[in-house]
């Protein structure tokens, strides 16, 4: 038998890419430590004796002749209690720990930090008895991780079937054995800490067709372009159009139970804002601080580019882990374009044949693989619990040009498209989701849900409002050519209603705590009130010699902008009364 080599020697260094020889027995995606400072890296290409390694830290001072130490394990995420409320870099090192070890506000090199605290003791409550037969994914016990989330300790996917030989409730660290399972391959110890390779999707028992919307409190999204729990959506937009604000609003207010927020190659101050804000913000669905359900991954633009490439995989693996417990998880990646650029940079250094705009030819397959990890699934385990993972990726197309490769690769695999529009942002209309170009392919899935949970006529109302907005765009072309006078009164009414839809409904202030979150029932109330003007007004304005200015002078019409300020438990009644009064005023005009 040949001697097993565990070290190699560096032969080349160029930016974040290092080549080493003597790596014949290395595995793809194996973790290695490079150079005398022991910088963490990952094998990304094998060629005979030579391995190409992407290094997760700055490589200045590294050179040929220095050693590469192999670990034999592939790049994996640590999974277990303690993930929630954590703030990691792209390779799951806690930023707080990095700060302590660096002793400075700068990120020092060669820092090793475990993703999860090894010393903290958690209270484990066993939920199965000794002697029970279990399969992969079965819940062995629970840990109250935060006030919001009960962490489920599951039989790891690597153990397909077995009998619980021993299990005991008590206080344990994550490395302590909490249960022993007897399998065909002998006894297996199960600890709360598990590992999963980040580039491989976690197994499930199967996917389910999504039929329930993720409620976000955003009027434009929930009403017009809803996303499914377990769906995939993308937010492309040029800079300044509000991608990050939209992503953050989603992370704050959507009704998922666990949020994984990946700041991938974005601004440092933005991550700080999230870090400052989330512990103080209260989740409107549970009344607890948002941080209790959130995991943050912050790999800012100036942090090493290879770790940026890994960050989305680290994030989605953690998200899948909570999905497997049966939770509804939402993952926000801001921005996937930076991830693609990281791939491009590494690919360029590997001297691979480039595809479009220098991106590697595997850009679209990697993108598709990533978004396909979203979905509503039947989890492994006998109880057939369901978990959902919704993935929302921001895309930053250069120059706002949607024909570029990253946007196109993303559009092919996401079913929700929230197109942010620079011209709307220019007019300070936020969220700048363009209602003419955006779409959601999930709308048809939600008919039942809307009927039961919002109102029987919601779907119809929504379609009518969207049509009004589309008519406005056409009418405005006419107005631009020949002026308002050329329009009939009915057309003027359409414009008036569309204006109200834009200004009083679609416009939403993400920085105003009252306005930022609108529950679905309230959305219905406002929308119906605005549309009442069109429905009831149509016949009246069509009368001969009708002076259209009379409409604008109506008390109720003047009150349209205040509709979103309605408060109280009897909000439904308030909107109904408003609609009644509006109809009365309109009818009075007819006389």
């Amino acid at each position: 038998m040949t001697e097993k080599t565990t070290t190699g020697v560096i032969t080349r260094v160029t930016g974040p890419l290092v080549e080493a020889s003597g790596m014949k027995s290395a595995k793809m995606y194996e973790v290695v430590y490079v150079g005398k400072e022991r910088l963490m890296g990952e094998v990304i290409q094998l060629n005979g004796d030579i391995a190409s390694i992407q290094v997760y830290e700055e490589t200045a001072g590294i050179g040929p002749g220095q050693e590469v130490e192999r670990t034999g394990v592939t790049m994996s995420a640590e999974l277990g209690p303690g993930l929630l409320e954590s703030i990691y870099d792209g390779i799951q090192r806690p930023l707080k720990e990095i700060q302590e070890q660096s002793g400075s506000h700068y990120i020092a090199r060669g820092i090793k930090a475990d993703g999860l605290d090894r010393t903290k003791k958690w209270t484990f409550e066993a939920t199965v008895r000794e002697g029970a037969t279990v399969v992969a994914g079965d819940v062995l016990g629970t840990v109250q991780e935060t006030t919001l989330i009960e962490h489920k300790i599951m039989v790891p996917p690597t153990i397909t079937k077995g009998v619980v030989k021993s299990i005991k409730s008590g206080n344990y660290t994550i490395e302590d054995t909490v249960a022993v399972i007897e399998t065909d391959k002998g006894d297996q110890n199960v600890a709360m800490l598990q590992r999963w390779p980040i580039r491989r999707p976690r197994p499930t028992a199967g996917k389910i067709f999504p039929s329930e919307p993720l409620i976000t409190g955003g009027r434009s999204i929930d009403t017009f372009f809803p996303i499914a729990k377990g769906g995939a959506g993308c937010i492309p937009g040029p800079f300044g159009a509000g991608k990050t604000v939209t992503q953050q609003s989603l992370a704050k207010y959507c009704d998922a139970q666990v949020i994984v927020y990946i700041g991938c190659g974005e601004r440092g101050n933005e991550m700080t804002e999230v870090l400052d804000e989330f512990p103080h913000l209260i989740d409107p669905n549970s009344g607890e601080p948002l941080m209790k359900r959130t995991i943050l991954i912050a790999n800012t633009s100036n942090m090493p580019v290879a770790a940026r490439e890994a960050s989305v995989y680290t994030g989605i693996t953690i998200a899948e882990y909570y999905r497997d417990m049966g939770y509804s998880v939402a993952l926000m990646a801001d921005s996937t374009s930076r991830w693609a650029e990281a791939m491009r940079e590494i690919s360029g250094r590997l001297e691979e044949m480039p595809g479009e705009e220098g991106y590697p030819a595997y850009l679209s397959s990697r993108t598709a693989e990533f978004y396909e990890r979203a979905g509503i699934v039947t989890c492994l385990g006998n109880d057939k619990r369901k978990g959902a993972l919704t993935v929302i990726g921001a895309v930053s197309p250069p120059g706002g040009d949607l024909s570029e490769p990253v946007t196109q690769a993303t559009l092919r695999v996401t079913k929700c498209f929230w197109g942010l529009d620079a011209s709307l942002a220019y007019k300070k209309h936020f969220p700048s989701i363009n209602w003419l170009t955006s779409y959601s392919l999930y709308v048809d899935n939600f008919s039942e849900y809307w009927k039961e949970n919002i109102a029987p006529d919601f779907e119809e109302l929504r379609a009518e409002a969207l049509e009004t907005l589309q008519r406005e765009a056409k009418l405005m072309e006419i107005v631009r050519l020949v002026g308002m006078e050329a329009l009939s009164n009915e057309e003027k009414l359409v414009l008036e209603v569309a204006r109200s839809l834009r200004e009083d409904y679609l416009f939403q202030n993400a920085f105003d705590p009252e306005d930022a979150y609108t529950p679905p029932k309230k959305q219905y109330g406002i929308l119906k009130s605005i549309m009442t003007l069109l429905r009831a007004g149509r016949a009246i304005v069509s009368a001969e010699d009708f002076d259209f200015d009379d409409i604008r002078a109506l008390e109720s019409v003047k009150k349209l902008p205040r509709l979103k300020d309605f408060k109280g438990d009897d909000i439904d009644v308030q909107y109904e009364e408003f609609q009644k009064k509006l109809i009365e005023e309109l009818n009075a005009l007819a006389r």
Partner: protein, 464 residues
């Protein structure tokens, strides 16, 4: 103590700014290299860009004209690029590579710092939230600048961005009255532009709290890649070790990116858009992200990079990638500039992402946020009406439309326009805004609440 350096006479080829040396050993990435050409006294400096087995590719910071492969001595220094700093550097002028060029004595370094810097841990950052008063209404009210922010000026050829930057540098202060130390770096600009800034700083007495790094169009192209890093290392030293509030002005970043493109093409790398390297975003971020505030340190770094958009095109890779990293942008409007309005800031297209952190009660004034929204909305309507009036004629406008038109004109002439040496306090700027709102019917003021209107809107004669 003498250090033995590795010295080689095995230079193989010179191509553009790159020198290839064979037969080397123990060389590391980013290491600094001294190149001695036979018959020349001064050594030329470069750094290792790629090391493959026994072959090193060196990027020269100085021109390669006159460089030869025969008998040239290449010495590897075993360390990365550093810059010697001390508190004595205030008031001094350096070349783009960090050499003293003001005729004074060399700096006795208190400490040598690595110019490539390290990334600030996002966890250690403090969110910027101190209002900076620039004394310019279009910035202070509409696109508020905050201490620790990076906010570039997007300009075009022939527009007065230099005068605007100089005005900001002169007038910037925080409400507590503290002044900024200024670190100013020119990248490939003309001698006149560099001289304009130097003089402005000298004439206003700001020079003694400034450090200048001058790389003009006549200086080596590759030096430009080092200049912003030297400048920012100095800024970091002043801010995080000397507790100063530092304002960094870098002009012109477009020249920087072109230098980067030149090196990239010499290395035969696969180009991204318009020939710029695919890593331009990452590279720019290692400059722009060196702004901010950190926990436990009093000092801060605020960055105002200036760049010219080729053909005023915001989608050109340089402004585009910059906009994705910085926290907003000031856009200089050619249209306003032609009308003689100074500073010609396009308030609608400009954006300060951190404005909300800098405004409100206790920082500026309670009415700031809603007044700003109202001014934006009314100005936008006014401009739409103006376009409409061109097509359909003024006679087709309603009374409200006409009021908005008057408002838009007055807004440009009285609010945006101000003297180059006119410094307005935030209260003055806000009051001008309210005064202009009297041109509009009260029903049109939807974004300001009634109690604010009662408190701040000046009474018109009619109402009295």
């Amino acid at each position: 103590m003498t250090t033995i350096y590795k010295e080689y006479k095995t230079a193989q080829s010179v191509e553009g700014p790159l020198l290839v040396v064979d037969g080397v050993s123990g060389v590391t990435y980013e290491e600094i290299v001294e190149v001695a050409v036979p018959g020349e006294e001064k050594v030329r400096i470069g750094k290792v860009l790629d090391v493959n087995g026994d072959r090193a590719v060196v990027q020269m910071f100085e021109p390669t004209a006159g460089l030869q492969t025969k008998d040239t001595k290449v010495r590897f220094l075993g360390r990365t690029a550093q810059f010697g700093v001390s508190s004595e550097i205030l008031g001094r002028t350096f070349s783009g590579a960090g050499k003293v060029i003001d005729g004074g004595a060399d700096i006795i370094a208190e400490k040598h710092i690595d110019i490539s810097g390290a990334a600030i841990n996002p966890y250690s950052r403090r969110f910027p939230n101190d209002f900076i008063q620039t004394g310019i209404s279009s910035i202070d009210v509409m696109n508020t600048l905050v201490r620790g922010q990076k906010l570039p000026i997007f300009s075009g050829a022939g527009l007065p961005h230099a005068r605007l930057a100089a005005q900001i540098a002169r007038q910037a202060k925080v409400t507590t009255g503290e002044e900024f130390a200024i670190v100013f770096a020119t990248l490939g600009v003309t001698f006149e532009e560099a001289e304009f800034f130097r003089r402005t700083l000298e004439e206003t007495g700001a020079m003694e709290r400034s450090v200048l790094f001058i790389n003009t169009a006549a200086d080596p192209v590759v030096e430009r890649i080092t200049t912003p890093r030297v400048a920012l290392s100095t800024a970091e030293y002043l801010a995080f070790e000397k507790d100063m509030h530092v304002l960094v002005i870098l002009t012109d970043m477009t020249n920087y990116c072109e230098a980067l493109r030149e090196v990239s093409s010499a290395r035969k790398e696969v180009p991204g858009r318009r020939g710029y390297p695919g890593y331009l975003y990452t590279d720019l971020s290692t400059i722009y992200e060196r702004a901010g505030c950190v926990k436990g340190k009093k000092g801060t770094i605020t960055q105002i990079p200036i760049l010219t958009m080729p053909d005023d095109d915001k989608t050109h890779p340089v402004p585009d990638l910059t906009g994705y990293i910085t926290e907003g942008q000031f856009i200089i409007s050619r249209e306003l500039s032609k009308e003689g309005i100074f500073p010609p800031v396009d308030v609608q297209d400009s954006l300060s992402r951190l404005w909300s952190a800098g405004v409100g009660e206790g920082k500026t004034r309670e009415d700031h946020s809603s007044l700003k929204d109202q001014l934006f909305a009314s100005y936008a309507t006014g401009r739409e009406v103006r376009e409409l009036a061109v097509v359909l004629g003024e006679s087709s406008l309603t009374e409200t439309d006409k009021a908005h038109l008057r408002f838009a004109d007055a807004f440009e002439k009285e609010f945006i326009a101000q003297g180059e040496f006119e410094e307005r306090s935030i209260e003055q700027s806000l009051d001008i805004g309210w005064k202009l709102l009297t041109l509009l019917p009260r029903e049109a003021l939807k974004r300001v609440k009634d109690d604010m209107i009662d408190k701040y809107l000046p009474q018109t004669n009619e109402e009295k």
